[in-house]
Symmetry: D2
Subunit: 134 residues, 4 copies
Amino acid sequence: MKNVTPVRVIYADTDAMGIVYHTNYIRWFEIGRTELLREAGFIYADWGGKGYHLPVIEVYCHYRQAARYDQVLLIETSVGHVNRATVKFNYTIWSEDRKKEMVEGYTIHACINAQGKVVRLPWEMIDIIKRALD
Amino acid sequence: MKNVTPVRVIYADTDAMGIVYHTNYIRWFEIGRTELLREAGFIYADWGGKGYHLPVIEVYCHYRQAARYDQVLLIETSVGHVNRATVKFNYTIWSEDRKKEMVEGYTIHACINAQGKVVRLPWEMIDIIKRALD
Amino acid sequence: MKNVTPVRVIYADTDAMGIVYHTNYIRWFEIGRTELLREAGFIYADWGGKGYHLPVIEVYCHYRQAARYDQVLLIETSVGHVNRATVKFNYTIWSEDRKKEMVEGYTIHACINAQGKVVRLPWEMIDIIKRALD
Amino acid sequence: MKNVTPVRVIYADTDAMGIVYHTNYIRWFEIGRTELLREAGFIYADWGGKGYHLPVIEVYCHYRQAARYDQVLLIETSVGHVNRATVKFNYTIWSEDRKKEMVEGYTIHACINAQGKVVRLPWEMIDIIKRALD
């Protein structure tokens, strides 16, 4: 299962080099994984309401091509792995025609509870995320 | 009382026009008012700890000159007014040599309590902020 | 003519008060006016290619209700005025059901040419923008 | 040679989890490497004026501890390597008392010229950056 969500580059996303500032792709990764999880039936906001969060503990990003103002980009997201300790998401950001791979990367997330303590991912959460692995 | 705090423009602050993206000056206003209040003995973080916040309810900004990458800017902040309903801060952002007025603006803030309800500003808060009016 | 464009709040847009950080609505204003102009046949990126830009010279924003994580918001944008010196856009940001007015504001823009000089808005530009006034 | 530059967390840097949003540390990496280079006599803005830029081609970040509103953090930056193809910077972000390592990571940069083409790093650039290796 792969989620593909489009975003359009605005001025706020660019920098004085004329290209998208590098951290903004990583911000878009958040959109990608939220929409992938939503598609799998996992509403991140609901889990947050119960006190569970999945903060990013590692991020890696490789920038291949620079995106520019007003370009439409496609954020493609898939689950890399999910286990009791961590969940990993893989991302590729494409040009709108899918001919250029702009950026690829991953994020790894742990689970914390309402007290901010690192805990094992609840089985229910793992089961839902696993749907996105199929 | 006026607080003057310097910031240096980084690429993240700029856009593809080669200048600072307009919302970033308003982000710097936050630095200005926090430091002004700190100077007056008001630690915003401590009030937040007690559940009181001063969310922005109005902002106005006039952009006179465009700032560029690596420029040092001076954020000058003063209290416009403070009463039981609102507190207003005025800002001028200068070039480092103070010869150019880049931006001027204001923010108006209400007070909310731990339940997120709009409340009157506590007298103790007003008294401390008033110190910054002298 | 009014353009309505949806955005969904992500964590990146929020702050430790649990609500959308105030400058992010103003960033969304950019999406609103770009899409309104696109609808009217004005591709901002094309004018930028010719060296013309419409930098923000004034912004005002009134925050009425706080938006939260994962909320869908509607950015409603219309042209306030357009003349040879400036163009003004008005914005209202609504909750998805349009029952709550979260934020309203405006931006005023001047025109600069490829040399960064303030110039009169080209008649062709004014004519296209005027379509959005109907 | 290591550069240590302080930053103070503002509301704009935080998210609704109550902690610094993960991309902001990577934005602070930019401050760290710019100040390290400045200390070594390399003014990034001057090279940009000549048309040379060092865009980020890879970033990695490991988040160990969450920073919070109003905390002062220390960005420690050093050069990992520099050769004709790339330059690498290593970063550790510390709590103000240096007792907690909040984040560590690296960025790798290629060199592009005024035409946006990837080129070898000019020898003069390499020589200056090498000063920061001592």
